[in-house]
Symmetry: C2
Subunit: 114 residues, 2 copies
């Protein structure tokens, strides 16, 4: 093994439904399962008055997190997965769930040993 | 505002106490508070048989996550904070808690608008 896991940093711009914790919870769960991950725990917090949501899904293979700024149609999502999962498979799920006009993707390899 | 938050990706090598969820929970809580953050929720999972820990602390200002591989003395930590917090203040807390021989730090600005 050359690295411990793949970490995607995904910024969504012009996105919708960012103030709906139930929708976000369902979207992140679908994103996890589609990537081949196993969900261990999830927690979502709904902020007032702006309606933003912060949430995490703890996976057997690491985690997914989201923080939303509905007033700017912006969301910052991380997908960190190790093992046989493919976090790139989560991207179409997020696109369909939030309909962003623009996606900024950064990929980091965590725990590189070479 | 030019960006939504600062995201530190911190890889610890040659680190210790990575199989102790209570110690990790306490360290991450201290790291959060020291940076000026407010803790909303935390969850830690202890894997067997390797003793690794995955955990998240959800903050009013985003999150801290950790995934440990005790068999390699390796931990991958994220600190994502928006607002007036300073996530760099968490670094000495993590150094003291885990005594890594080497720290690899990457800093990302999430939600840049310029």
């Amino acid at each position: 093994m050359k690295f411990a896991g793949t970490h995607l940093l995904i910024d969504l711009w012009g996105a919708s439904r960012l103030d709906d914790p139930d929708h976000i919870d369902a979207a992140l769960r679908e994103a996890a399962v589609t990537a081949g991950a196993t969900i261990l725990h999830s927690h979502f917090h709904h902020f007032s008055p702006n309606g933003g949501v912060s949430g995490v899904v703890v996976l057997a293979e690491s985690h997914i997190s989201i923080h939303t700024w509905p007033e700017r149609d912006f969301a910052a999502i991380d997908i960190f997965m190790c093992g046989a999962c493919n976090p790139h498979l989560s991207l179409p799920v997020l696109q369909r769930a939030f309909g962003p006009e623009r996606v900024v993707l950064d990929e980091q390899r965590r725990g590189r040993v070479s």
